[in-house]
């Protein structure tokens, strides 16, 4: 059986035996996802690469951090990547982060480049699905979700950054997440993939 045929969870089990080939397969499978997430958050290529390296080596050294019974590997890895990158920008200073945030969010195109055939070819079905769902959200709801998720801001901080009442931000986040969940469920045929 080829390593490419193994599921993520099976590859992770092999890391307990320091199987370098299994590790390489996991890296090949997810390095772009981890790097893209980190880059979106830290906005610095070099730092995003450093974080990607750190995250993968952590998996190599401590495969027991992932517990298969708690959910699928990809979700766990996304969560680890996002949290580590947000920690990094927090360490680098909240003030700088808030100043950067508004301009960045206003200038950024809606998530996903569905019109770019090259990128489309590189995106997995799941990425396309999520980007489609995000594009379906009203711009202000998507912006609130992205400020929370990619910049690690609380609702109160988002309200300050956008100059909007706290209640408005709370509503945007709640409605945005509900709509996103609903769309993802519909696309996945009734339930979020696990």
């Amino acid at each position: 059986m080829s390593y490419l045929e193994l599921r993520d969870e099976e590859l992770m089990e092999r890391l307990f035996y320091k199987d370098l080939k299994a590790f390489e397969t996991i890296y090949d499978r997810y390095c772009n996802m981890v790097y893209s997430t980190a880059l979106r958050i830290v906005n610095d290529n070099g730092l995003a690469e450093d974080l990607t390296q750190e995250i993968f080596l952590r998996i190599w050294r401590q495969p027991e951090l992932y517990v298969a019974e708690r959910g699928r590997f990809m979700s766990w890895l996304i969560s680890v990547s996002r949290n580590r990158a947000v920690d990094e920008i927090r360490k680098r200073g909240r003030r700088q982060r808030l100043e950067f945030t508004v301009a960045d969010e206003q200038n950024r195109a809606p998530a996903g480049d569905a019109d770019d055939p090259l990128r489309m070819a590189q995106l997995s079905d799941e990425r396309v699905r999520v980007q489609r769902a995000l594009k379906g959200l009203p711009a202000e709801q998507r912006q609130a979700l992205e400020l929370a998720y990619f910049h690690g801001l609380t609702q109160r901080e988002i309200a300050a950054v956008l100059g909007q009442p706290l209640g408005t931000v709370k509503t945007r986040i709640r409605l945005g997440m509900q709509k996103l969940r609903m769309q993802l469920k519909e696309q996945a045929g009734g339930q979020l993939s696990r």
Partner: protein, 254 residues
């Protein structure tokens, strides 16, 4: 907090966007509300997918080389033969004093104690090598088992004897093999061993003993060789011979 209030907060909590006070109140509610907890799990799943909304970007090819090289160098290395490295310079230094007759006696005493130390360390090393070989042998069997398409996995919960221990139980019905893989096991004292028990409604059957190596322990169970009268309900690892309680337990669903 009522469920309706909790539902207002769950999405923001999943995004990590609640203030500490609100998060604390929500957590208190979640402790006793299964339906809100399930709602949170769904919100967390959607939250994780948000990362895929980031524009696709690709790290440079050099990163892969760096990561793999670092991983390869971080592989478990054999323990250096520290006993020799320690003994040799000291022995050389003491030999310099041997010009005086009086020093001959201390030198003789020194060498005797060094030889005793080396013997003791040799025993420990011998034990390490034996344990490492056993673990390696089990790992080879385990890799065969892990490739089985019908492999089932059960997380082992740590018992009272070693609360830090973690483990996984694997079982392949087609092969009739089970195997446990344990981590963070305590170092065994001389004479001690870990024992694997297969528990059935009619009693406990010993499946064999294993020793750990640097906290890792592995053991494969060939069920065809066990005289079981009923289907197993649990797999238990104990510390023997002092039976200080269970080290790890896998409860099996029927």
């Amino acid at each position: 907090m009522e469920c309706s209030e909790a539902r207002e907060l769950i999405d923001a909590y999943a995004l990590g966007a609640l203030d500490k006070g609100e998060a604390k109140a929500l957590l208190k509610h979640l402790e006793s509300c299964l339906s809100c907890w399930q709602e949170l799990k769904e919100a967390e799943e959607a939250r994780n997918l948000l990362a895929l909304g980031a524009p696709a970007a690709f790290p440079g090819p050099a990163l892969k080389t760096r990561v793999l090289q670092e991983a390869a160098s971080a592989k478990v290395k054999p323990k250096p033969f520290s006993a020799l490295g320690k003994a040799l310079p000291r022995a050389t230094a003491v030999a310099g004093l041997a010009v005086s007759l009086a020093a001959v006696f201390s030198l003789a005493f020194f060498f005797k104690s060094e030889v005793d130390d080396l013997n003791a360390e040799n025993d420990v090393l011998q034990q390490e090598v034996t344990s490492a070989s056993a673990v390696l042998q089990e790992q080879q069997q385990m890799l065969t088992l892990l490739a089985e398409p019908d492999l089932q996995r059960t997380v082992m919960t740590s018992g009272t004897a070693q609360p830090e221990a973690t483990g996984m139980y694997f079982y392949s019905k087609s092969r009739e093999w089970g195997a446990i893989s344990c981590n963070k096991l305590d170092r065994l004292s001389p004479g001690q061993t870990y024992r694997v028990w297969v528990v059935t409604p009619t009693g406990w059957v010993s499946a064999g003993d294993f020793r750990s190596w640097r906290g890792i322990g592995q053991y494969t169970i060939d069920f065809r060789k066990l005289d079981l009268r009923a289907a197993p309900t649990a797999i238990i690892v104990t510390l023997e011979p002092d039976s200080r309680g269970e080290v790890l337990v896998a409860r099996l669903s029927q």
